[in-house]
Amino acid sequence: MAEISYEGQTTREINAALRRLVAQGETELVVRHPGARHNLGVATVQPVRLTFAGSVGYYCVGMSDGPTVEIHGSAGWGLAESLLSGVVMVHGNAGNGAAASMRGGTVVIYGDAAARAGVSMKGGTLLIGGNCGYMAGFMGQKGTLIVCGDTGEAFADSMYETVCFVGGRIAELGNDAILAELTAEDATFLATTLTRYLNAPLPDPASFTKVVAGRKLWNFDQREWAIWREAL
């Protein structure tokens, strides 16, 4: 296991050190004192274990492919943006736009997520242990968004085929978001995912509300002008 300390180093130096160590064959890396700096571990494309022993800033491990990342603190804006594969776990809260545009893999936020979590998801799973803020799931195209707590307003607005599950209260559904019946398959998927990542006591999968796109915005219809005006 290799350790890197933030103290006295620039972000570029930390990231260069990470790349060098990975190229040398290190598979377990720990960054001490990350100090909430931005852009840490961006574009990590090897299946390494990467641990941040503290909070990270914006865009942490964005555009990564395959790593297993643990953040022992909170994360700033754009956590794991465009993640292709791998697992990113935040043992704290996340800022705006967590897991935006993720294409695959799993992002777990054990605390709360701020606004626009999982916007434009294109695959993978975003699991939020706490609450999420305004406009989570906006324009989600594929993948799964699970919120164990409450959601903010405009939840799941203008989605394509992302599927959302909410354990708590939905403050307001977004445009074209509708409730759907929780199937046995959904409950099994939820039970498996929650068991894998969360600590007991686990929420009851049967208590989750399923939200999907109503598909009214998928094709333009003059008769639905009012909803289009709101959505645009």
Partner: protein, 302 residues
């Protein structure tokens, strides 16, 4: 961009190291806006004196203007202290019964001069340049007090000079200060409305209107929390802003959560900042930080 910070000591220490905390936070956010930096610091106000930080101009003969100002305030109170640092004249007046009259007389007929802050607790210094140079000029990191605000600016729509820098004192309303990150997009409409009522605006910086708005609400009897809440519907645009009075520190965040604001509260302090990096740089210890949600309003009382 722009970076805003706020810190409140919860230990009832009237001489907490607020200045050094604010400076450390601003240094960490300096890259968000190198145009200007400033702090608003609340002291204990134990003596009950009126403290004024007066801008003597962007350039010119500062000493001559200082003497004119000192002559004008004679008779409005007892001048207990007088000092000049860079472009600022600092006066301490005791027995000043009518602060508004003091402000009017100081600024009378001289467009170079502006009362940057006035109050029994509040002092603001701000200038063009980095947080480091602000500290070097005014020794802000040695200032103590109960709470305070700070700002580092990336100018987008108005001039870069001392008056257009932040924090803004709400002119005419002692001890009320704000810092803002964002754009108030209905600024022109609001500015016109205030101008029609005879309110003087000192700059073309949209952030100035926030102080004017809050002062008006507080004058009508609103609490700071009520005023912040009302601003969510009266202001359009993107904003995270902080506001402080001698008794309280609060924030409001716009309905779309377009601007960041990170918050932490422990047993001993409250810290808020545009980025967590500022809080981690200035406040040691183990604590969690979260991002404020859309439409969130929060006020901490001292």
């Amino acid at each position: 961009m722009c970076g805003i910070v706020g810190f409140l000591d919860k230990t009832h220490n009237a001489h907490a190291a607020v200045g050094s905390v604010l400076c450390a936070m601003l240094r960490a956010l300096g890259c968000r806006g190198p145009d200007s930096a400033g702090v608003a610091l609340y002291g204990s106000g134990e003596a009950g004196d009126l403290v004024l930080q007066i801008k003597l101009g962007e350039r010119g003969d500062f000493e001559a203007r200082s003497q004119e100002i000192v002559a004008r305030v004679q008779g409005l109170g007892t001048l207990r202290e007088r000092s000049r640092t860079a472009a600022y004249l600092r006066l301490v007046l005791s027995d000043a019964d009518d602060p508004r009259q003091v402000e009017r007389l100081i600024e009378a007929d001289d467009h170079h001069v502006e009362v940057v802050s006035m109050g029994r607790h509040l002092e603001i210094v701000k200038q063009v340049g980095s947080p480091q140079s602000l500290d070097a000029t005014y020794g802000v990191s040695k200032w103590t007090g109960t709470h305070g605000l700070g700002h580092t600016r990336l100018s987008t729509e108005s001039r870069i000079d001392l008056s257009h820098s932040q924090p803004f004192w709400a002119h005419g309303y002692p001890d009320l200060a704000i810092v803002h990150n964002g754009h108030i997009t209905n600024y022109d409409t609001m500015r016109r409305r205030y101008a029609q009522r005879g309110v003087r605006l000192y700059t073309h910086n949209d952030s100035e209107i926030i102080g004017v708005y809050l002062a008006e609400r507080l004058s009508r009897g609103s609490t700071l929390g009520e005023a912040l809440q009302a601003s969510l519907t009266d202001f359009d645009g993107s904003f995270s802003y902080l506001a402080a009075t001698p008794q309280a520190l609060g924030f409001a965040k716009d309905p779309f959560a377009l601007k960041p604001l990170l918050v932490t509260e422990t047993e001993t302090f409250v810290a808020v900042a545009t980025e967590e990096i500022a809080i981690r740089a200035a406040c040691a210890g183990t604590y969690t930080v979260r991002e404020a949600q859309a439409r969130e309003v929060r006020v901490w009382q001292r």
